[in-house]
């Protein structure tokens, strides 16, 4: 399903151009609206569909194996933290789905390390990554080492 754009819905805002991982949503110079310049490099990833404020983009199954007459529409709502899908079959049957996309308001869950205390020299020289070992396990244990796991690196054939 490479994407296509409905002429009457697109206002040329360029959100789709900004997001497409394949760099194939471009603005047509004459109509000043977006279109897919290279359908054979479209992954139908729906990044552009989700980003379009006017729901002007849809996907039509790849011509080499998908018959016409279906649709998969989506509304991704950042405020509500959900994504809704409507799958319409060629014969008209419809299925609806709704999933969460995040559990915290955008931009609040991630620390900026520049505001956190610096790691110690001992931590620096250890195998630990940030917030470890606390973030690996609930007890007081450390990260696994060959010794803690009773292991040894041996050359040869093992199965």
């Amino acid at each position: 399903m490479p994407t296509f754009v409905y002429m009457t819905r697109c206002d040329g805002c360029g959100y789709c151009v900004d997001i497409c991982p394949s760099d194939i949503m471009h603005i047509d110079k004459k109509y000043r609206r977006a279109y897919n310049i290279e359908p054979s490099m479209c992954w139908e990833c729906y990044s552009c569909v989700k980003a379009c404020p006017h729901h002007a983009i849809d996907a039509r199954g790849y011509a080499d194996f998908a018959p016409l007459g279906h649709s998969v529409r989506t509304i991704r709502d950042e405020e509500a933290g959900t994504i809704a899908w409507r799958v319409t079959f060629r014969d008209g049957r419809v299925k609806n789905f709704l999933s969460p996309i995040t559990t915290v308001p955008w931009g609040t869950g991630i620390p900026d390390f520049r505001n956190e205390p610096e790691p110690t020299e001992a931590e620096r020289n250890s195998q630990l990554l940030s917030f470890e070992p606390k973030y690996i396990r609930m007890d007081d244990g450390d990260i696994a080492t060959l010794k803690s796991q009773n292991l040894e690196m041996k050359e040869g054939v093992y199965y």
Partner: protein, 644 residues
């Protein structure tokens, strides 16, 4: 053409490609390097770039040490048997011991992880996989990266690494261009972490024409990670180990949740179980050590992915295709039906579109499966990538020469698909590897290893001329012809890609030859790739978008060449179901129980290949069930021997 050159100087850590691996680097490096200059160069838009652009419905690598579920060595054993023994166990152990902390962070950052209501633990899909609502997986990790980086350059494609000219085998940054503005971007950096992902589309895809973008791995996975490293002269490992996926036909929708959670299973066109039929002959090819039905049945030991592919390939060749996934039972349960659909909508929307288009409701009809064209990557059930140094407290001397995850070039690190010998890292493991590289890069700089790097203007000018040459080639050649895409003096990227795919398909074991190759075919293929390299000097690009395609093609070409060299070197069939060497149809542990390591000389273009030893940190005997089974097997055998 007036090309602007934008120089970003004094960078400490440059992230070249920010998918799951690169975002992990940018995030973690800030913790260990508060005042370091961290810059991201990303080909697309970091919020939706890489293999996770559409999201994921599962995190495929999570130990669950917190809940007492698995230890790191359990995962090593699993990945090893799945890859027929060929893995870097030090790197895998290291990834596995850290991976849980990445997943716990994801949850804190807002990624919705499903919970098992009874136990309170994360909802398992399988032993290693947990289920998530991961539509926004990529935007979430991107936020962690951009918040901690000093600068993120979107739409900058890195074409080459820059090398230190002070006489050391050391990296000095990277160079590329903005695919929108056409500006040249120079990054002078003390370290570079390559996170530019795997390679799709180097083999002829099953889909044709408009559908050619419907590949399993993202079409924008252009093998850049490999080409950047190979061209710089970094050592590579296991590049022969391409992967073939058994997936839903045409849409290539993932099957993990179907097999593991929905408990669907496969059968041939006549409703028969077919796998076990093919296993006795297959066991003769690979040995009982790798395919032991009894052991797999009684213990957690998986049947290697490639061997299951082999059964599908054989069954179809025998005229009993197509293979079906039996979904009709599972889908009667409304909850499982929902999981089945959301699984696609969350990571491969195209499969849902295809079922809608063909009126296929898996509740009433069992969908077809197929085996895909091969892919080159290093984080799924395969381990192509760079030969990297392991962690000081785990790795034996042969695997340890510098900082953790540093390549054979100083200051050059990698993550995810870029790192070789570490299959089954998946999204979480790639992010973890990125974190490890981020910390290592900081240590490398703090230890004074990056002093005195020299990157001359002439090096930059030389690369710049190379980068923009396709635009010039096109402009000059264009006037020779009336119109159209056919010119005697240039090759456009798209037909170029088709040539590459045809060579790889026919000579290096693609779908049209049923994954078969041999030494003769490979030698012809290498010659064809050599000639193609000459033609790639004449690749033409009409605009900056095509310039990106031109460089993607060059990167895919270099990756392919390395894959072919490796495939020729390993004279055995190690992974039946991924590919076959017709001139050496057996697995040969006597000669090939080793890793393969290559280096391409950047001056001459010659490859040197060598074998590297395999170190194991754990035997099967640590798997209790398996050990018990083997013990009970051994006893009668011993008695019989004594009786003689």
């Amino acid at each position: 053409m007036g090309i602007k050159t934008i120089v970003e100087d004094n960078i400490d850590i440059l992230v070249a490609g920010a998918g799951l691996g690169g975002t992990g680097t940018a995030y973690e490096a800030r913790h260990w390097g508060r005042d370091k200059k961290i810059v991201i160069a990303e080909k697309a838009n970091i919020n939706r770039s890489g293999a996770v652009a559409q999201g994921l419905y599962a995190i495929n690598c999570y130990m669950g040490t917190r809940w007492g579920e698995n230890n790191p060595e359990d995962h090593v054993r699993y990945a090893r048997i799945d890859l027929m023994g060929m893995v870097r166990e030090d790197l895998l152990f290291d990834m596995a011991r850290h991976v849980d902390s990445a997943v716990h962070k994801f949850e804190e950052w807002g990624l919705p992880l499903m919970r098992n209501e009874k136990t309170g633990a994360y909802q398992r899909e399988g032993r290693w996989q947990i289920m998530i609502h991961g539509e926004s997986y990529k935007p979430i990790v991107a936020e962690a990266a951009t918040k901690n980086a000093d600068k993120t350059y979107n739409r900058v494609m890195i074409t080459h690494l820059l090398m230190d000219e002070s006489g050391r085998n050391r990296v000095g940054g990277a160079i590329g261009f903005n695919v929108r503005t056409g500006n040249c971007h120079v990054f002078k950096s003390k370290t570079v972490v390559v996170g530019a992902g795997g390679a799709s589309n180097i083999y002829k895809p099953r889909s044709v024409g408009e559908g050619a973008g419907r590949v399993w791995y993202a079409p924008w996975s252009s093998g850049s990670a490999y080409a950047l490293m190979i061209n710089a002269g970094a050592k590579m490992t296991q590049m022969e180990n391409r992967i073939v996926l058994a997936r839903f036909k045409d849409g290539y929708g993932p099957v993990g949740a179907y097999f593991l959670h929905l408990k669907t299973y496969t059968q041939n066109a006549y409703g028969e179980e077919y796998e076990s039929k093919h296993f006795p002959a297959l066991q003769k090819m690979v040995g009982k050590e790798y395919l032991d039905m009894e052991a797999s049945h009684r213990t957690h030991r998986p049947i290697p992915t490639c061997l299951r592919n082999h059964a599908i390939i054989q069954e179809v060749a025998a005229g009993r295709g197509p293979i079906h996934m039996v979904t009709m039972h599972a889908f009667q349960d409304p909850h499982l039906e929902e999981v089945g659909w959301e699984n696609f909508l969350g990571m491969t929307v195209g499969q849902a579109v295809l079922w809608a288009a063909t009126d296929l409701d898996p509740k009433y009809q069992n969908p077809e499966l197929t085996t895909s064209e091969p892919y080159v990557m290093g984080s799924h059930a395969t381990g192509c990538g760079a030969w990297c140094s392991g962690p000081a407290d785990v790795s034996p001397p042969e695997y340890q020469w510098g900082y953790n995850r540093m390549m054979s070039i100083e200051g050059l690190f990698g993550a995810g698909d870029a790192v070789g010998g570490t299959p089954h890292a998946f999204s979480s493991g790639s992010f973890t590897e990125g974190r490890i590289s981020g910390k290592s890069a900081c240590q490398y700089i703090d230890d004074g290893k990056a002093e005195g790097i020299v990157v001359s203007d002439s090096q930059i000018e030389k690369r710049k001329a190379e980068i923009f040459k396709p635009l010039e080639t096109y402009q000059v050649g264009r006037n020779e012809i009336v119109a159209g895409t056919v010119s005697p003096s240039y090759l456009l990227p798209h037909p170029g890609l088709q040539r590459l795919q045809k060579i790889m398909d026919e000579y290096c074991g693609g779908v049209t030859v049923n994954y078969m190759t041999n030494d003769k075919l490979l030698n012809i293929g290498l010659q064809k790739l050599k000639i193609m390299e000459e033609d790639l000097e004449k690749v033409g690009a009409e605009d900056t978008h095509q310039l990106m395609r031109a460089w993607e093609l060059k990167h895919r070409h270099r990756t392919s060449e390395c894959v072919m060299q490796h495939t020729l070197f390993r004279k055995e069939t190690r992974w039946p179901g991924y590919y076959y060497r017709g001139d050496a149809m057996k697995l040969d542990d006597k000669n090939w129980h080793c890793l393969t390591v290559s280096r391409r000389d950047p001056e001459t273009g010659e490859y040197t290949l060598e074998k590297a030893p395999l170190y194991h940190l754990v035997g099967d005997m640590e798997d209790k069930a398996l050990a018990d089974m083997k013990k009970s097997e051994k006893k009668p055998a011993k008695k019989a021997a004594k009786a003689k």
